[in-house]
Protein backbone atom coordinates (compact mmCIF):
# COMPACT_ATOMS: atom_id res chain seq x y z
CA UNK A 1 0.00 0.00 0.00
CA UNK A 2 1.90 3.06 -1.16
CA UNK A 3 0.95 6.72 -0.96
CA UNK A 4 -0.45 6.91 -4.49
CA UNK A 5 -2.96 4.17 -3.68
CA UNK A 6 -3.93 5.76 -0.36
CA UNK A 7 -4.65 9.10 -2.02
CA UNK A 8 -6.58 7.37 -4.80
CA UNK A 9 -8.80 5.69 -2.22
CA UNK A 10 -9.38 9.04 -0.46
CA UNK A 11 -10.23 10.72 -3.76
CA UNK A 12 -12.60 7.97 -4.88
CA UNK A 13 -14.34 8.01 -1.49
CA UNK A 14 -14.85 11.77 -1.81
CA UNK A 15 -16.23 11.32 -5.34
CA UNK A 16 -18.73 8.71 -4.10
CA UNK A 17 -19.81 10.82 -1.10
CA UNK A 18 -20.27 13.84 -3.35
CA UNK A 19 -22.34 11.93 -5.91
CA UNK A 20 -24.48 10.41 -3.17
CA UNK A 21 -25.12 13.86 -1.75
CA UNK A 22 -25.92 15.34 -5.15
CA UNK A 23 -28.42 12.59 -5.92
CA UNK A 24 -30.23 12.48 -2.58
CA UNK A 25 -30.27 16.03 -1.25
CA UNK A 26 -33.23 18.30 -1.87
CA UNK A 27 -31.62 21.63 -1.05
CA UNK A 28 -30.03 23.19 -4.13
CA UNK A 29 -27.11 24.75 -2.23
CA UNK A 30 -26.32 21.30 -0.85
CA UNK A 31 -26.32 19.83 -4.34
CA UNK A 32 -23.67 22.40 -5.33
CA UNK A 33 -21.70 21.56 -2.17
CA UNK A 34 -21.79 17.92 -3.28
CA UNK A 35 -20.36 18.94 -6.64
CA UNK A 36 -17.60 20.88 -4.85
CA UNK A 37 -16.68 17.70 -2.94
CA UNK A 38 -16.59 15.71 -6.21
CA UNK A 39 -14.25 18.35 -7.66
CA UNK A 40 -11.84 18.05 -4.72
CA UNK A 41 -11.86 14.25 -5.10
CA UNK A 42 -11.11 14.35 -8.83
CA UNK A 43 -8.30 16.85 -8.34
CA UNK A 44 -6.72 14.71 -5.60
CA UNK A 45 -6.82 11.65 -7.87
CA UNK A 46 -5.22 13.60 -10.72
CA UNK A 47 -2.37 14.94 -8.60
CA UNK A 48 -1.78 11.46 -7.17
CA UNK A 49 -1.30 10.11 -10.72
CA UNK A 50 1.80 12.27 -11.06
CA UNK A 51 3.28 11.56 -7.64
CA UNK A 52 6.41 9.46 -7.43
CA UNK A 53 7.67 8.45 -4.02
CA UNK A 54 10.99 9.86 -2.85
CA UNK A 55 11.14 12.69 -5.36
CA UNK A 56 10.93 16.44 -4.89
CA UNK A 57 8.72 19.21 -6.25
CA UNK A 58 9.14 20.28 -9.92
CA UNK A 59 11.14 23.40 -9.05
CA UNK A 60 14.69 23.38 -10.35
CA UNK A 61 16.46 25.15 -7.48
CA UNK A 62 19.74 24.20 -5.85
CA UNK A 63 18.28 20.92 -4.56
CA UNK A 64 17.85 19.57 -8.10
CA UNK A 65 20.75 18.97 -10.41
CA UNK A 66 19.77 20.23 -13.87
CA UNK A 67 21.29 17.39 -15.86
CA UNK A 68 19.46 14.76 -13.81
CA UNK A 69 16.21 16.68 -13.38
CA UNK A 70 14.01 14.00 -14.93
CA UNK A 71 15.13 11.50 -12.28
CA UNK A 72 14.62 13.79 -9.29
CA UNK A 73 11.24 15.55 -9.68
CA UNK A 74 7.61 14.46 -9.67
CA UNK A 75 5.44 14.76 -12.79
CA UNK A 76 4.62 18.46 -13.40
CA UNK A 77 1.90 17.98 -16.05
CA UNK A 78 -0.99 16.84 -13.77
CA UNK A 79 -0.15 19.68 -11.38
CA UNK A 80 -0.48 22.23 -14.18
CA UNK A 81 -3.82 20.74 -15.23
CA UNK A 82 -5.20 20.73 -11.67
CA UNK A 83 -4.03 24.31 -11.12
CA UNK A 84 -6.33 25.55 -13.86
CA UNK A 85 -9.12 23.15 -12.90
CA UNK A 86 -9.38 24.61 -9.39
CA UNK A 87 -9.82 28.17 -10.64
CA UNK A 88 -12.40 27.10 -13.20
CA UNK A 89 -14.17 25.08 -10.50
CA UNK A 90 -14.77 28.02 -8.21
CA UNK A 91 -15.99 30.20 -11.09
CA UNK A 92 -18.47 27.52 -12.18
CA UNK A 93 -19.65 27.04 -8.59
CA UNK A 94 -20.23 30.78 -8.31
CA UNK A 95 -22.22 30.75 -11.56
CA UNK A 96 -24.40 27.88 -10.32
CA UNK A 97 -25.00 29.68 -7.01
CA UNK A 98 -26.09 32.70 -9.03
CA UNK A 99 -28.71 30.58 -10.78
CA UNK A 100 -29.89 29.36 -7.38
CA UNK A 101 -30.20 32.95 -6.14
CA UNK A 102 -32.23 33.90 -9.22
CA UNK A 103 -34.49 30.88 -8.81
CA UNK A 104 -34.99 31.76 -5.16
CA UNK A 105 -35.95 35.31 -6.06
CA UNK A 106 -38.54 33.85 -8.43
CA UNK A 107 -40.22 31.27 -6.21
CA UNK A 108 -38.86 31.84 -2.67
CA UNK A 109 -37.85 28.23 -2.25
CA UNK A 110 -34.56 26.34 -2.18
CA UNK A 111 -36.06 22.86 -2.52
CA UNK A 112 -35.50 21.22 -5.88
CA UNK A 113 -38.95 19.61 -5.64
CA UNK A 114 -40.64 22.97 -6.10
CA UNK A 115 -39.25 23.48 -9.58
CA UNK A 116 -41.32 21.21 -11.78
CA UNK A 117 -41.65 23.35 -14.87
CA UNK A 118 -39.81 20.87 -17.05
CA UNK A 119 -41.13 17.75 -15.38
CA UNK A 120 -43.48 15.54 -17.40
Amino acid sequence: MNITNIVHIIGFALILIGFWGMLTQKNMIKIILGLAIVEVGVQLVMVAFGFIEGRTAPILDSAVELSKASELIVDPVPQALVLTAIVIGVAVNALMLTFVIRLYQKKRSLSINDYKDLKW
Binding site: F19, W20, I52, L60, I88
Partner: protein, 233 residues
Protein backbone atom coordinates in the same frame (compact mmCIF):
# COMPACT_ATOMS: atom_id res chain seq x y z
CA UNK B 1 -38.67 4.81 -1.68
CA UNK B 2 -37.82 4.82 -5.38
CA UNK B 3 -36.04 8.11 -4.83
CA UNK B 4 -33.55 6.29 -2.61
CA UNK B 5 -33.13 3.17 -4.73
CA UNK B 6 -32.17 4.83 -8.01
CA UNK B 7 -29.39 6.98 -6.46
CA UNK B 8 -28.14 3.90 -4.61
CA UNK B 9 -27.93 1.92 -7.85
CA UNK B 10 -26.13 4.79 -9.59
CA UNK B 11 -23.63 5.27 -6.76
CA UNK B 12 -22.93 1.54 -6.56
CA UNK B 13 -22.29 1.39 -10.31
CA UNK B 14 -19.93 4.37 -10.02
CA UNK B 15 -18.23 2.51 -7.17
CA UNK B 16 -17.60 -0.52 -9.37
CA UNK B 17 -16.31 1.69 -12.17
CA UNK B 18 -13.86 3.36 -9.81
CA UNK B 19 -12.85 -0.05 -8.40
CA UNK B 20 -12.04 -1.19 -11.90
CA UNK B 21 -9.90 1.93 -12.41
CA UNK B 22 -8.27 1.44 -9.02
CA UNK B 23 -7.17 -2.14 -9.69
CA UNK B 24 -5.66 -1.21 -13.05
CA UNK B 25 -3.45 1.62 -11.79
CA UNK B 26 0.24 0.89 -11.58
CA UNK B 27 2.18 3.50 -9.60
CA UNK B 28 4.74 5.47 -11.55
CA UNK B 29 8.41 5.02 -10.93
CA UNK B 30 9.73 7.17 -13.75
CA UNK B 31 8.72 10.11 -15.86
CA UNK B 32 7.61 9.12 -19.33
CA UNK B 33 6.69 10.77 -22.60
CA UNK B 34 5.93 14.44 -22.60
CA UNK B 35 6.68 14.97 -18.90
CA UNK B 36 10.18 13.62 -19.40
CA UNK B 37 10.78 16.02 -22.28
CA UNK B 38 9.56 18.95 -20.22
CA UNK B 39 11.72 17.99 -17.24
CA UNK B 40 14.83 17.55 -19.36
CA UNK B 41 14.48 20.52 -21.68
CA UNK B 42 12.36 22.98 -19.69
CA UNK B 43 15.28 24.74 -18.04
CA UNK B 44 17.38 25.17 -21.18
CA UNK B 45 14.36 25.88 -23.41
CA UNK B 46 12.53 28.50 -21.39
CA UNK B 47 14.80 29.42 -18.48
CA UNK B 48 12.06 29.03 -15.86
CA UNK B 49 12.95 27.40 -12.53
CA UNK B 50 9.36 26.43 -11.78
CA UNK B 51 8.38 23.79 -14.33
CA UNK B 52 4.66 24.06 -13.53
CA UNK B 53 4.84 27.73 -14.51
CA UNK B 54 6.68 26.84 -17.70
CA UNK B 55 3.95 24.35 -18.61
CA UNK B 56 1.04 26.61 -17.70
CA UNK B 57 2.37 29.72 -19.44
CA UNK B 58 4.25 28.46 -22.46
CA UNK B 59 3.92 24.77 -23.29
CA UNK B 60 0.17 24.82 -22.59
CA UNK B 61 -0.32 28.54 -23.09
CA UNK B 62 -3.39 28.18 -25.27
CA UNK B 63 -5.16 26.22 -22.51
CA UNK B 64 -4.43 29.00 -20.05
CA UNK B 65 -5.81 31.58 -22.46
CA UNK B 66 -8.97 29.49 -22.81
CA UNK B 67 -9.21 29.13 -19.07
CA UNK B 68 -8.95 32.87 -18.50
CA UNK B 69 -11.69 33.23 -21.12
CA UNK B 70 -13.91 30.77 -19.21
CA UNK B 71 -13.32 32.72 -16.01
CA UNK B 72 -14.25 35.92 -17.83
CA UNK B 73 -17.44 34.35 -19.17
CA UNK B 74 -18.44 33.08 -15.74
CA UNK B 75 -17.82 36.51 -14.24
CA UNK B 76 -19.84 38.20 -16.97
CA UNK B 77 -22.69 35.72 -16.50
CA UNK B 78 -22.78 36.38 -12.77
CA UNK B 79 -22.77 40.14 -13.31
CA UNK B 80 -25.55 39.82 -15.87
CA UNK B 81 -27.76 37.59 -13.72
CA UNK B 82 -27.28 39.55 -10.50
CA UNK B 83 -27.50 43.04 -11.90
CA UNK B 84 -28.79 45.44 -9.33
CA UNK B 85 -32.01 47.29 -9.52
CA UNK B 86 -31.78 50.94 -8.74
CA UNK B 87 -32.91 51.51 -5.22
CA UNK B 88 -34.21 54.52 -3.44
CA UNK B 89 -31.45 56.18 -1.53
CA UNK B 90 -33.38 56.76 1.65
CA UNK B 91 -34.29 53.14 2.35
CA UNK B 92 -30.87 51.91 3.41
CA UNK B 93 -31.41 49.53 6.29
CA UNK B 94 -29.18 49.67 9.32
CA UNK B 95 -26.47 47.06 9.23
CA UNK B 96 -24.37 45.75 12.02
CA UNK B 97 -20.91 47.28 12.00
CA UNK B 98 -17.84 45.09 11.88
CA UNK B 99 -15.92 44.84 15.11
CA UNK B 100 -13.18 47.29 16.06
CA UNK B 101 -10.48 44.65 15.75
CA UNK B 102 -11.53 43.71 12.22
CA UNK B 103 -11.69 47.35 11.09
CA UNK B 104 -8.29 48.30 12.49
CA UNK B 105 -6.62 45.06 11.48
CA UNK B 106 -7.89 45.23 7.92
CA UNK B 107 -6.44 48.73 7.48
CA UNK B 108 -3.07 47.33 8.49
CA UNK B 109 -3.26 44.06 6.60
CA UNK B 110 -4.82 44.92 3.23
CA UNK B 111 -1.74 46.64 1.73
CA UNK B 112 0.50 43.83 2.95
CA UNK B 113 -1.74 41.14 1.45
CA UNK B 114 -1.87 43.03 -1.85
CA UNK B 115 1.92 43.32 -1.92
CA UNK B 116 2.21 39.62 -1.12
CA UNK B 117 -0.08 38.83 -4.04
CA UNK B 118 2.07 40.93 -6.37
CA UNK B 119 5.17 39.21 -5.00
CA UNK B 120 3.65 35.80 -5.72
CA UNK B 121 2.89 36.50 -9.34
CA UNK B 122 6.09 38.38 -10.11
CA UNK B 123 8.14 35.49 -8.72
CA UNK B 124 6.02 32.87 -10.49
CA UNK B 125 8.90 31.53 -12.56
CA UNK B 126 11.26 31.18 -9.60
CA UNK B 127 9.21 29.89 -6.68
CA UNK B 128 5.85 28.16 -6.15
CA UNK B 129 3.01 30.40 -7.13
CA UNK B 130 2.01 32.45 -10.10
CA UNK B 131 -0.77 34.45 -11.61
CA UNK B 132 -3.66 32.39 -10.31
CA UNK B 133 -2.42 32.23 -6.73
CA UNK B 134 -1.40 35.89 -6.67
CA UNK B 135 -4.73 36.89 -8.16
CA UNK B 136 -6.52 34.91 -5.47
CA UNK B 137 -4.46 36.67 -2.79
CA UNK B 138 -5.41 40.07 -4.21
CA UNK B 139 -9.06 39.03 -4.33
CA UNK B 140 -8.87 37.96 -0.68
CA UNK B 141 -7.53 41.42 0.22
CA UNK B 142 -10.59 42.92 -1.47
CA UNK B 143 -12.74 40.38 0.41
CA UNK B 144 -11.21 41.57 3.70
CA UNK B 145 -12.15 45.14 2.84
CA UNK B 146 -15.72 44.03 2.13
CA UNK B 147 -15.90 42.27 5.48
CA UNK B 148 -14.46 45.18 7.44
CA UNK B 149 -16.43 48.03 5.90
CA UNK B 150 -20.12 47.73 5.10
CA UNK B 151 -20.17 50.71 2.77
CA UNK B 152 -17.02 49.80 0.85
CA UNK B 153 -17.51 49.73 -2.90
CA UNK B 154 -15.05 48.82 -5.60
CA UNK B 155 -14.53 51.16 -8.51
CA UNK B 156 -16.04 49.21 -11.39
CA UNK B 157 -14.53 51.42 -14.08
CA UNK B 158 -10.97 50.94 -12.83
CA UNK B 159 -11.49 47.21 -12.32
CA UNK B 160 -13.01 46.76 -15.76
CA UNK B 161 -10.18 48.75 -17.34
CA UNK B 162 -7.46 46.71 -15.61
CA UNK B 163 -9.20 43.47 -16.54
CA UNK B 164 -9.75 44.25 -20.21
CA UNK B 165 -6.32 45.84 -20.73
CA UNK B 166 -4.50 42.89 -19.18
CA UNK B 167 -6.54 40.45 -21.26
CA UNK B 168 -5.80 42.46 -24.39
CA UNK B 169 -2.05 42.60 -23.74
CA UNK B 170 -2.05 38.85 -23.05
CA UNK B 171 -3.48 38.17 -26.51
CA UNK B 172 -1.17 40.78 -28.11
CA UNK B 173 1.88 39.04 -26.63
CA UNK B 174 0.57 35.77 -28.04
CA UNK B 175 0.14 37.24 -31.52
CA UNK B 176 3.59 38.89 -31.36
CA UNK B 177 4.98 35.38 -30.99
CA UNK B 178 3.25 34.41 -34.25
CA UNK B 179 4.62 37.46 -36.04
CA UNK B 180 8.16 37.60 -34.73
CA UNK B 181 9.19 33.96 -34.26
CA UNK B 182 7.21 31.75 -36.54
CA UNK B 183 3.88 30.34 -37.50
CA UNK B 184 3.62 27.74 -34.71
CA UNK B 185 4.83 29.91 -31.83
CA UNK B 186 1.64 31.41 -30.44
CA UNK B 187 2.32 32.60 -26.86
CA UNK B 188 5.96 31.62 -27.10
CA UNK B 189 7.85 33.18 -24.19
CA UNK B 190 11.12 33.48 -26.08
CA UNK B 191 10.24 36.89 -27.51
CA UNK B 192 12.60 38.45 -25.00
CA UNK B 193 16.06 37.05 -24.19
CA UNK B 194 16.03 34.28 -21.61
CA UNK B 195 18.53 35.99 -19.33
CA UNK B 196 20.40 34.40 -16.48
CA UNK B 197 18.81 31.28 -15.03
CA UNK B 198 17.34 31.98 -11.60
CA UNK B 199 17.21 35.78 -11.73
CA UNK B 200 13.97 37.70 -11.48
CA UNK B 201 14.37 39.26 -14.94
CA UNK B 202 14.70 36.02 -16.84
CA UNK B 203 12.65 33.42 -18.68
CA UNK B 204 11.59 35.70 -21.52
CA UNK B 205 7.99 36.90 -21.32
CA UNK B 206 6.88 34.48 -18.58
CA UNK B 207 6.93 37.10 -15.76
CA UNK B 208 5.05 39.58 -17.94
CA UNK B 209 2.38 37.09 -18.93
CA UNK B 210 1.95 35.87 -15.35
CA UNK B 211 1.65 39.46 -14.09
CA UNK B 212 -1.11 40.09 -16.63
CA UNK B 213 -2.85 36.83 -15.69
CA UNK B 214 -2.54 37.76 -12.01
CA UNK B 215 -4.13 41.17 -12.52
CA UNK B 216 -6.91 39.66 -14.64
CA UNK B 217 -7.72 36.83 -12.24
CA UNK B 218 -7.54 39.15 -9.22
CA UNK B 219 -9.93 41.73 -10.64
CA UNK B 220 -12.27 39.03 -11.97
CA UNK B 221 -12.53 37.17 -8.67
CA UNK B 222 -13.00 40.47 -6.83
CA UNK B 223 -15.83 41.40 -9.21
CA UNK B 224 -17.44 37.97 -8.69
CA UNK B 225 -17.32 38.50 -4.90
CA UNK B 226 -18.71 42.00 -5.29
CA UNK B 227 -21.61 40.78 -7.42
CA UNK B 228 -22.37 37.87 -5.09
CA UNK B 229 -22.35 40.23 -2.13
CA UNK B 230 -24.68 42.65 -3.87
CA UNK B 231 -26.37 45.13 -1.61
CA UNK B 232 -27.18 42.70 1.19
CA UNK B 233 -30.25 44.84 1.66
Amino acid sequence: MIKRIIPAILVISIFFMLLKVMTNITPKYDLTGVSKTYAEQGASDLGAMNLVTAIVVTYRGLDTLGEVAVLFMAGTGIALLLRRKKKKKGSVAKKREASEILQTGSKLLVPIIMMFGAYIFINGHLSPGGGFQGGAAIASAVMLMFLADNSFKINHKVFGLIESLSGMFYVIIGILGLVMIGADHFLDSRLLPLGEFGKILSAGTIPIIYTLVGLKVGTELASIIDNMKGDLE
